[in-house]
Amino acid sequence: MNDIVLPVLWAVLGGAIRVGTPFLFVSLGECLTEQSGRINLGLEGVLVLSSMAAFGGAYLSGSPWIGVMAAMLAGALLAGVHGVLCGLRRVNDIAMGIAVMMLGTGLAFYLGKPLIQPQAPTLAPIMLGSTSSSAQLQAALSINPLFPLGVLIALALAWLLANTRWGLIVRMVGDSADAARAQGLSVNRVRTLATMAGGAIAGLGGASLSLFYPGSWNELLSSGQGLIAIALVIFARWRPLACLWASLLFGGAGALGPALQSVGINGAYYLFNAVPYALTLLILVLACTPYRRLQGAPSELSVQR
């Protein structure tokens, strides 16, 4: 029994971090954006564009950390387009988000053509398990260097939103634009800045994909992970720390299929491969109710009004 349970457990735990890190960054970025009262479906496009930018930056400069910077910049710029355009009158942020998603993926495919073949320097893992004799443990504990950064951002975001004047402004703009205006705040400016900051954070998720795991650029790299991460924010009830646990849960679910097949449990691998998507559906079904607004949801979100 131990031959099966332990390896699967280690693979799922390791996979939770390996596969879950992009989810973490995108959901944190979306969490910040939505706290300011706006939805950015364009983060899927941000994820694809920033992973291309990260790879390109690392390839051209020779340094993966310059790639990480490029990813944040690309993410902030694309999210900025969304932020500015949604500030115009009668622009629907859902429709705009879909347009931004297409713009981001299209740009990434176009600019990323010459980047499919080359190899770029990737981020070196943090080897937590180097003292362990088990190869499985070593593999599970060679941590993506961006993951601790993600945990820090989650903690910082939670603290900032709850305890600082800055966090209060973002939440007020998200909960009641009228109250914010009465305070003399520019709702549009706050939302645009929050959207851009969210884009920069989501850009780190792109860098994690192309510079660490799997560590190369191609056009199907994201395959919808950005959209799953956006759904995660609802599951996490707009709380940054809950985004962390939710991302790990989804990462682990993604690792379950291959892990079970590798130990010879291969009955229903289509089912196991579908676990992340089934989980998303389940969350959305459980989360939606026609009778009241979702607990924790910023009331300015266009889906709430």
Partner: protein, 372 residues
Amino acid sequence: MEHKQWNRRQWIQGTGAAGASLLAGAWPLGAQAQSPITIGVIYVGPRDDYGYNQAHAEATAELKKVPGIKVVEEENVPETQAVQKTMQGMISQDGATLLFPTSFGYFDPHMIAIAGKNPNVRFSHCGGLWTAAKHPANTGSYFGYIDEGQYLNGVIAGHMSKSKKIGFIAAKPIPQVLQNINAFTLGARSVDPKITTTVIFTGDWSMPVKEAEATNSLADQGVDVFTMHVDGPKVVVETAAKRGKFVCGYHANQSKLAPAAYLTGAEWNWTSAMNAIIDAARTGKPHPNFIRGGLKAGFIKTSPYGSMVPEAARKNADAVKAKMIAGQFDIFTGELKDNTGKIVIPKGQAFKQTAIELESMNYLVEGVIGKI
């Protein structure tokens, strides 16, 4: 009354047809045997994916150098209605008279539907199971016996594996993929019958994160030689190399990606197949409907051995390869059991590469850990 009026559309049709017949009449004067031709090549993914699409793109690049051949290409065309639009566009706008839709899912219903509407255009699909009874005569298919290459991969893997566990990352359980998994396993077990192949199906042709995850889980289980059947092997090759494991390539030569881990590989070489089909079209010969070939016909080739492959392994693989080229080697021979213990090929029976039964394979052989 109105039928007596000349309308603009009729006029264009009439003069257009006259012009076309003039042109057609003028052609043979210019080039007697080899008339110029426009061909269209359609890829499901990017042309430079180090894999399936790149193999076709490399052959197409060779064709472009031939005088009289004009090539139009489109990449990232999904296996949906979209490919029908691409095909019709290439025919109507670019004047293509021979199309190479290269992805498995383009065949039925998409290529068949467009072929019915354009009886004067020739279609050559890569990998489809063309049958004269079911499919129009202006369509056809070509493919290579790449399982020969995977068998040789297996022989080398069998020599190199210390843990006696080897791994196969596969996309979907379709016959061609199963044939490769089985050939790889049989090749390795010809060296050491204790070897097992663990297979992981990722579910689709290109799933980079899942492919990396599959490679990692297998490496955790002690698998030390990998191969794959996915569209872009880059992720598997790089991930295996990062874990310090060996890898056998597929589709194209990936040795540049991981020189220290790349043992050998099974590569396509589509130039000769495509040339045969194009020559027939240019000289007006009947459309070759069913083209198949392996190492002997030059449809497939093997990557040069990595420097870590020992002499004994090279000799063994080279000997099998020589037999394959001479036509004296059958990969699937009886008695062959599947991995549930059922006999799938009875004693005394051997399938030649040309055997059509192999193209509908639906089992995994003994020694494979996995399920369809």
